[in-house]
Symmetry: C2
Subunit: 449 residues, 2 copies
Amino acid sequence: LTAYEIILKKRDGGELSRAEIAFMVEGFLENAVADYQMSAFLMAVFFVGMSDAETDDLTSVMLETGSVLDLSAVPGSKVDKHSTGGVGDKLSLVVAPVAAAAGVRVPMISGRGLGHTGGTLDKLESIPGLRTDLSRHEFERVVADVGMAIVGQSPDVAPADRSMYALRDVTATIECVPLIVSSILSKKLAAGLDGLVLDVKVGRGAFMRDVESGRALAERLLATAHRLGLPADAVLTDMESPLGRAVGNALEVSEAVDVLSGEGPSDVRETSLTLASRMLVLAGLARDGREASARANEALDGGQALGRFARFVEAQGGDPSFIDRRGLLPAASVVREVRSDEAGFVTRVDAMEIGLASTELGAGRREVGDPVDPAVGIEIVVPVGGEVHEGGVLALVRANDVGRAEAAVGRAGRAFEVGPEQPAPRPRVLEVIEGPGTRARTSTGPRRS
Amino acid sequence: LTAYEIILKKRDGGELSRAEIAFMVEGFLENAVADYQMSAFLMAVFFVGMSDAETDDLTSVMLETGSVLDLSAVPGSKVDKHSTGGVGDKLSLVVAPVAAAAGVRVPMISGRGLGHTGGTLDKLESIPGLRTDLSRHEFERVVADVGMAIVGQSPDVAPADRSMYALRDVTATIECVPLIVSSILSKKLAAGLDGLVLDVKVGRGAFMRDVESGRALAERLLATAHRLGLPADAVLTDMESPLGRAVGNALEVSEAVDVLSGEGPSDVRETSLTLASRMLVLAGLARDGREASARANEALDGGQALGRFARFVEAQGGDPSFIDRRGLLPAASVVREVRSDEAGFVTRVDAMEIGLASTELGAGRREVGDPVDPAVGIEIVVPVGGEVHEGGVLALVRANDVGRAEAAVGRAGRAFEVGPEQPAPRPRVLEVIEGPGTRARTSTGPRRS
């Protein structure tokens, strides 16, 4: 067995055995397979694809390069939510406390922002004092005590994924379904979960640009998760425009608190409730989607979710007093307005452009390891469907540098399209797709429309 | 401009500009583009291909990474022959002296064996004393004095090709037409030639397995050579079975001398005369293929070619007395017979299996830098079309190690197929394809059949 033969076999359309996949992945980690061989292999996979069996094998081989978290000492059903990455996506900060308040244990492992997308860890770290680098013991304790914790990936989980992802990131092999599936699931299978809800983003601000490819990714994720023993459901959500109004770390935390307080944008509220409901079903805490939805609404509207969020912030070392005094969050020194050249209705806010504008302000990273500025970002004043007069303010740019602010005003301005007719309302939740294992268990939950 | 963007563009089917191609190739040589990015790029090219313009640009960018030989001080038309690599291919040792004896200047730059294929330099070095590492000055002098010289590639010629070929060799990206075209022509364009004859091998022992793909490669080679100013013709030759009877370095030298002496296998003779004739036409020494063929035959049958070969051996430091006393060539100590299980006609001798058996004996290399044994190899006793009785000898294995000899007997035996009916004779020369520049110049030469 040589790396050359395995690359050749994949290049020529062959189906690899588990031993061949393990040879590549483990060899790459041990430097027996060169990085230039792995990158050629990944590009061949990009073009040829992988069968279900190959995808399962790749996922479990990557999983087995690292350690697996044992959360059996934590009572209750442990369910996490994972998003494929978007712009303005503060859903974790709402979903986790809603689900936890309704009885789910949420051991959430999150990431950092890269490129145009934000990351939950960066958002949380804008809260004064809050730490996301809990030890394994602290993580278990917070999940057991509060019902939720949010931390970064431990370096001993699926190390092959970290190395392979870094290589894919510089060789244009990110956008490949079997590689995305194995990357996501190798980490989630290592987290000792009883269930997983996948938020698959679709549109201009997402990897998957259309519903068909998003659905294909969701189906592959669910099928592999099922075969490897992890019950999972997926929700396809729209990422043509940014989620909610706020893009940027502290701005998004503040918006999440608004939603937990019964205020804030309705798309963030509705999407969060849909995701939390699926978590309740997977946790066995609701018989069907309707019952789950009622319980999630109750947890949010009754204030228990907000209370749970405050306990979570405190348990991870943060000061929850910002919840009532938002001025305690980092604030930017420069504000600039994005104005409309014409009167009409906003027909489009391009999530990719807004995400890139926010990254250029310093809210995100161009490369792994770049610092982020917690205070900066963009606030959308008139979202899609809203009306604006000539010269009216479409968005606010919050920056700590005048030059960057003005560049962001230009880029954010290009994200907006204004037309004479009000566009039809666009749903944020596009589809709920139940996994092969959960279809049998639930009878009346929402199904693919 | 970044390597990432260029890989992405090629991956997604875009046509690269010359600047983008230069960024990759020059960046790779200067370590600004990582080897793992170059290998991902090469695999994307394998799947997506390259346009004519991209192939031309890649070829000339690779050419310009190195120096160009100036042979203008050598009088006469300088024409080389290049083969895409085969088994038992000693044609250079016949073609060069025939062409030189007929008036062509042949500044031949050759390679070494790798995998199942042999290399002209390895064959020549089995001649006692002969050197292939001439200085540039010595090379020019021998070409001017003798009319031919055969040397290895200078390291300052197309260094990008050497680095890229080494990477392709370990990442399964060899078999890709635009990459083959640019690799061959970047080196040949650096050799200061007035013309080039390409021997494109087709069949089990060649990169190109069928006539269609061989013709496609030949057409691409000729078109790019023409656009970059090098007049070229191509000959498609059959490589289903080894060329001639001898496979192995000294064995092939001896067979070439047989052919130069008016003896030896007719396929080696006829193919050599076809290639030498094309060289005469390209050199402007014959008005058409018929005249060229007559002059090549005359040079061979009149003994001038053999005399030229002897002068060439001496000029490159070798002792030509082996021509009359073959016992002066290295000889193997162990001889084993490959016998037939049944009576009948040989219907097939698999060139790939014979080539691999010869490499395993030590006549070739598994990896660049391996030593070769000049004495060992395989002699085919009954070629395709010949009759054998039950238990009759099909081939002789010549080795310097009993274990290797016996392994080679097994592998070489599997190369032979024997059947009840005599197969139809198979031509070795399949097609002569004139390049776009030479079609206009010649009127009655052989054309594609």
